[in-house]
């Protein structure tokens, strides 16, 4: 019962994290399910060193890395059927820019802005220090700004 409550509590969050990492809904569903299966199968070996949520994120992150090893990165195709017009287009562009970041910056930025986690949690999930987590997020944002500068120029040229 307690376990079920916990799965329900974190299911959406882990599913979205997997989605942000792989950009494919079906794959994200499978990865999310795999994450919880691993969690259930291995929790007897788990020693408490932090929050359960972080432990789940770590498992999910590893599953996503395994997924990348087996599959070529899929360009982001799916998007929720909500929002229209230029706003949606901008968000899609933003998502594609995030996908274009190096792996270590991408996972940091996903955890910070898409999953809204604290630096301390990000550090624990990625196995790095808080200052390194901050640095990676900052670096990722800078890169995105640079990329966005480029896309703005393309837009202007189109006009």
């Amino acid at each position: 019962m307690v376990l079920e409550k916990m799965i329900r509590k974190y299911y959406d969050e882990i599913f979205l994290y997997c989605f942000h990492r792989v950009g494919n809904r079906a794959a994200a569903e499978d990865l999310c399910q795999d994450t919880f299966v691993s969690f259930i199968e291995h929790y007897a070996e788990y020693r408490h060193i932090g929050r359960t949520k972080n432990y789940l994120y770590t498992i999910a992150g590893n599953k996503c890395k395994d997924y990348y090893r087996k599959n070529k990165p899929i360009p982001v195709e799916e998007f929720p059927e909500q929002g229209t017009g230029e706003c949606l287009e901008e968000l899609v562009v933003m998502r594609q820019m995030v996908s274009g970041l190096p792996d270590e910056l991408r996972e940091a930025v996903i955890l910070r802005y898409f999953q809204n986690l604290k630096y301390q949690d990000i550090a624990m999930i990625l196995g790095i220090s808080s200052s390194v987590a901050k640095y990676r997020v900052k670096k990722a944002v800078e890169r995105l700004c640079e990329m966005e500068g480029g896309t703005d120029e393309v837009k202007r040229e189109r006009r």
Partner: protein, 274 residues
Amino acid sequence: MRSKERDVETKMRQYAAVCMRLSEEMEESGKKERQIRALMQIALPPRTRGNSWDFALDQIGYLGRYNLVWQVLWVLLFWYLIHHGIPYLGAGERENEILILVSLLPPLLTLLTVEEVTKVYQRSMLEIEYTTKYSLQSVVLVRMLAMSVFHAGIVAIVIFGIHAEADSEIGTLLVYGFTPMILVTGILTKCMQCCHGEQLRSAGIGVYALTVVLVVAGNTKYCGWYQPAYRKAWCAVCGAGIIFAVWQFGCLRRKLSSIPLHCLNNGEKHVPDI
């Protein structure tokens, strides 16, 4: 540049908000429910899978490397002190010093057991992982038993080692070694029924400090508890200690079975009555 960064951050947050719709869609289609049901099918078997022996082995496996490090350190400390001694402890008499060390060091292992068992009460994964598979009562008692038996084994081995080296009488060493350990175990089991967490840890240290005082006092001319005349009294105390420890173990078992699990898992600050 700063406004550009803010713009990027805002867009990422907007994107995350739009993506929330994905999980809503999943819930609406009933897929999430099916997935969770499937997970619970995997999660349920542990209660029925395997027998009690497997469960006990699981718990022994859980005790893990961290404890092993402390146990190895304990053995090394024991060995060092037996060979080099503590100045003035035995008032210069080698045999007295050995007897005092044999009494003083085993209760330290009991403190390790308490420290380990205390972790079960943390509101964390531990409650979830174990209380969903087995009752808290089973977890605590099996861990305590596993650690106590293991520690008793270690103490017995080092006592036999001392017997072989120092040529002390084995019966005397066993009685002086196990009596304080059994008494401290009984008292700490009693403490576990009244307090937990930091309080329990402090109680453990307090009980050990008292043991040190009693053992060291036993070697003074005022209270010569280590004189051969007191040997029978030690045996009687050892017997009484075993009865007391078993009784307290039973009391703890009853106490644990009365703790509602939701108290442990709903993030309440204090677990009532334990």
